[in-house]
Amino acid sequence: MEPQIAQAPRRTAGYWYADGLVELGTGLLLVLMAALFALEGLAPAGSLPAAFSALWLPFLLLGGMLLLGLGLRVAKRRLTYPRTGYVAYERTRPVRKVLAGVIGGLVSLSLVLLLASRPEWLTALPAVQGGVVALVWFFLSYRIGVWRLALVGVVSLVAGLAASLAGLSPSIGTAAVFGTTGLASLVSGALVLAHYLRTTSPPAEAE
């Protein structure tokens, strides 16, 4: 019972990922981002897609995250809660959200400034992106003890290194990193969801 008690916070946090829905949603968002970057990279210079794809990214990110949150709540209400129970987590404090945004913004800004001063380092961009995305997956995996998430991080790291070594353009390299990570997340989510649905069943309705 003692290890169970010590692991309680991790287990409750890990429960959010028990059905694979988060990975499916995140994977979809990453693949959409990859498509946008690929469009930017493949469109002829000066064309509308090339000019506007960067403008769409913030909207895709913000809208995608909002829709992801909404979709997850609906899907979990229909699929997960009747089978293995309902859990509501403490809301993240606004200060922490702002802090995360500021840190993310500073890291991105530093990267942009660094690359602006050293254009020859642009080929390393996918490797850096892959590393940053991998760190996020590794941290999440460690914090909640869901080790399959670390595998998605490894895929991201390898995809970034491969894209850099292949000398892909920044847009196509970024698309490769996000696309591969997104696909890995989708596959992981689909496998977990299939297993979850096979091993759990919804309760009978009350009379």
Binding site: A8, T12, G85, Y86, A206
Partner: protein
């Protein structure tokens, strides 16, 4: 006599006796620990995570509710009955106090 500034055996025993026994019971401790890390959770989740029987879980929850540590809301989700549990402010502070007391008791022992 305290050895090297640590508590005496009598003080140590006293600390153990002061532990909140309602929370100290393993099954209830697990329930409280699970509820402490979320805003609220339902009976089905607690049943799976604790591995208790329905009857056992109900009786432990009832005791925690009587003590004012847990709030229980019964309702329906569609046609399915749902019992949602959450720790009260009193329950959270009791759990916090229990944890720090256990840390002091287990960590402060000098022989």
């Amino acid at each position: 006599m305290a050895g090297r500034g640590g508590p005496t055996a009598a003080e140590h025993l006293q600390r153990i006796l002061e532990v909140d026994r309602l929370i100290h019971e393993p099954a209830r401790l697990l329930i409280v620990a699970l509820l402490a890390s979320v805003r609220e959770a339902d009976f089905v989740f607690l049943l799976r995570e604790t591995g208790l029987t329905k009857g056992n879980l109900s009786s432990h929850l009832a005791r925690l509710e009587q003590a004012g540590y847990v709030r229980i809301d019964k309702g329906f989700r569609g046609k399915i009955p749902q019992t949602v549990c959450s720790l009260t402010a009193e329950g959270r502070s009791a759990f916090k106090a229990y944890r720090s007391q256990m840390k002091r008791t287990m960590g402060g022992r000098r022989t």
